[in-house]
Symmetry: D5
Subunit: 144 residues, 10 copies
């Protein structure tokens, strides 16, 4: 335990967040996501909701304002949009850094999402159960 660091963040997750730079992406995969077969770096967070993790991670991670939409969802069939999307939206807005999220989410088709996940700096394997809840965040910059 350290002061001011949310306890849900493991040393491995923190290490990845710190090593990431401008433009690097991190994916939060749900409990059924094939994290190990596609991720270069897989960080286990079994049993945790993605909302819990986003809430903690976004206290530390700036989003990229150099692109239109630094937050990417795996698209869901019309009518099947999961309830967590709304929660993600709220958590991101509360932690937004310099308005990076102002254009909302980018949504990509399932297999395109997989291709993008393979390029991510890290994949967090969570215990999220809701369908189509996978999300990718692109890291931004901090200037003094």
């Amino acid at each position: 335990m350290l002061k001011n660091i949310p306890d849900i963040i493991s040393p491995e997750l923190m290490y990845a967040l710190m090593n990431m730079g401008h433009g690097d992406e991190i994916c939060f995969g749900d409990a059924n996501f094939p994290a190990d077969s596609m991720g270069q770096r897989v960080i286990r967070a079994d049993g945790h909701k993605i909302t819990e993790l986003l809430d903690a991670v976004l206290q530390l991670l700036p989003l990229d304002s150099f692109v239109q939409k630094p937050c990417v969802l795996m698209d869901a069939p019309v009518g099947n949009e999961p309830a967590v999307w709304g929660k993600y939206d709220k958590i991101i807005r509360e932690n937004d850094f310099a308005g990076a999220f102002k254009h909302g989410f980018e949504k990509v088709e399932r297999f395109d999402f997989y291709d993008r996940a393979k390029e991510c700096y890290a994949i967090v394997a969570t215990g999220e159960y809701e369908g189509y809840s996978n999300i990718i965040l692109k890291k931004g910059v901090i200037f003094k």
Copy 2:
């Protein structure tokens, strides 16, 4: 030994099954299958029949209902179809999850099967002796 885990499942096999996600595939190769030269992860199960292993693995592994045919056989010349295919069919049906197997097996030619095995998450090297007994399973999802 753990409660409720079939004892034929080694720690390495369980570890692979748990790390696999939606769409990842696992191949069970017979005693003559060139597992080591094509598999990224090879799990030894020398001396065991594939039927014994399927029976245990399918108590844990859901099959993929997002594709037509999540179970793949190496095709055999007409008239040489092995007896184990019938046994596989029975074992799979008994453990089917949400009707994923309702369209039966996909069958692919020997060298195409090799190419697919190379893409599998893991290959289990068994002691099965019958010809054309190799089989690939595609993992499905579990929702709460």
Copy 3:
């Protein structure tokens, strides 16, 4: 995700539980426990209560009935006994295997507990916050 495996159990934790044998011990350390400096194998479970983990692990792990007390607590100063002890007692009793827990907990002094933790097969680094909540379980046997 696998059928019948609690989702809080990571592949690494399952792998350790399966590799453990009769008499091997596993320690669940709280959020301040020095897991990494003393554990031969450290399994991260950041952000989770020990009660959540015990509840899942004891569905799989048999306790050792060859010893008097297979469950060990880090002793607390009189009057400071943590509330989690009662919860542990209840969870263990509900999952007890052949009466292994009938003599209740063994309690050992803090530095003796550290020495014992160093000999454990694995240490699970949890997010439990309550003081004196560390616990060690000794694995038992299963006969057919």
Copy 4:
């Protein structure tokens, strides 16, 4: 598969048998044996009876005739001697090499057996269920 090699013998087991020399010992632990926490080299043979393995291994492995008793059992309480001991006796006699087994088994107390297992060249983790079925074999020599 190779000609004349029993198919229950994995490449890893064969590799250990070949690398062992005069006086080196190999332990076959039952399904509850703490193989991983004490063995320098652990070879998985999940789901197999020790009798099946002995039957195969002794076709290859000579026993040590330089010592009185090259086969060691974990001793059982009087009256609890397991039925497998008789089967071991029969299998060993059928494969005996130059009368090495003529003085029968050495039996050692459980914790002494653990200490000896720690010194073994390898431990085979089997699926044997019967109590007190663990056995250690000491390798002998072959002269042309």
Copy 5:
């Protein structure tokens, strides 16, 4: 770069701080300190003053209030006490957690300090030039 994390803290240093637990110690060695020959984990911070590092680290690290003196200096000959000691005192007091530092520094002789450094969880190799500026911090606990 992450929000609220001082930029002098490298990913490796953060990873060590997070993995440390109650009672684990971290040593900050000066530019001439034999870090590599005695440290189990050496973290480079070449070119930085120890004061800069303490200032950053103590924003995160709680000191141990279970011991009398959680901050340890390498003792200096009378009259040669370095000026940095006063700066350390000030920085520590400003970041003190629950009065852990109220009894001031422990001072130990040079070779005893080496022995203690060998037991530290990590050694930070700094660019501090002043003599007798080495310091060890013992990590404390955080309760919610």
Copy 6:
């Protein structure tokens, strides 16, 4: 030493032979063969003739009867055919398995042979001195 295993076969060579499956190939390179720069797995057998090795290996290894010619030579200029070819022919015929060798050798040009060697499961670096003595064997199957 094991019973019934030729003593010229090292543990590493046996391990490779056992891990190979149907269709995998093993190359025996002469003393000047660039084994290390092209082989994925190189097994040293310095100082041994290829005939000695073939004689031992073919007691264990079945040849592939699914292809026309499972034994491949590096072709020699007309008139320079080495004497060992005749010896190879004799040794292979004596150990032939189900007539796999009935069509004799395949011969390939030097650089094509190199390309094929690069795809072999293993290369055995021998002490054979005769020119154009390199040979590749393709493993077959065993059915009970």
Copy 7:
């Protein structure tokens, strides 16, 4: 500490500088640079300005006079040229070796700079905060 080696240069940085040869390049990335995801060798220099590092490194490193412009900047939008560029210019000129820098900087667009960084021998992850401050140096030769 060694005589005549600037103390800001870590053993890892020195090791890279020594192993580099004619034409090899080293990149100094700012605090937001995605060093880890693109660098083959990443050397941490957290908390240090690039000017401090250049000042030290150029006392040792010769620049390449075989190319027109051995120093490469990530180009900035017109009007946003950072103040550090002027400082870099001054430091390089003071340490120039045989006039290698006489044609000034090469400037490349952000994503082209990333591609070039991926080919660098090493990337130094600094604590520089100013925008567009990344710089690549190409190593030259020394003749006696």
Copy 8:
């Protein structure tokens, strides 16, 4: 030290020379050569002239007589041919094996030389100072 082995040859260099086979190449790079960024295996020989090394290596290494020119130089601008070329010529002729060098040197342009060096079995990083002194040798065969 061994009898009859020149003392300038390190164990690593000898190991490479022995593992090389017919057609494998070894490059001797000068003190400014980018050995580490292009060599698969780099062997340090800092502070030594290439002439000293050739003199020792050619006592052991046969040159390839299957190609026209088994010795390759990095070409120099007309008029800048280095004096070492003459020395190389003399050393090679004195150690020539079956007239392999009778057609003299092949010379290739700088960047083509780099491409060829990348394919070499090993690169020896020497302390040679003269410009354009890099040389590649192709290994030949030895017949009894």
Copy 9:
């Protein structure tokens, strides 16, 4: 193959011989010797007689003349002295360096020999079949 290096010497054996220094010992174990369980470095020479290996190695290796008896045998029961001892004596005398062998062999009891083998720099696992044929050589010095 290299000029003047006996072809029975593998690259691994040569590497060990070169890395050994004054006083280091190398053991040649027979086909039944437990090389792997006691040797720090094991070099395979399956299928070769120890006489063949000594004959080659002693062309390179000087014996230690600083001790009385640099060649050590595992002692045999009176009347069972193996014939190879005489051959060893002859080979060593033919290659003796400055009279190091003039006092003949040291002979040590079997288990003392094992203890000494454990301290050897390397153990060569040979195919020698004769009983009590194991031998240890102590390396000497070469002066110019």
Copy 10:
């Protein structure tokens, strides 16, 4: 090549020198010294005289003035003192740092020297031929 770094110093040697701290020792062993069997870190400098290496290393390395005699020789029999000792004395005096060498050499008996070498941070394996030429240097400090 770097400016101001003697070219005889390899990257590995420089890396060791930089990582060493106050009190760490480095040993220069002659061509017959058993470097590999006793050194924790062995740095090859085959073919070089120790005088050449000392001359280069002492331009960088400060000697320890906290002890009486920071330079240690392996003692020689009276009358056999090697000529290099006088050269060492001269080189050290020319590079002395704050009079650390004013009490001259410490000399220790051969086997005590070995014990001390085993504790050294690194051993440099040189090509020095003269008897009793081994030397150990203890690193000192640099203050600004």
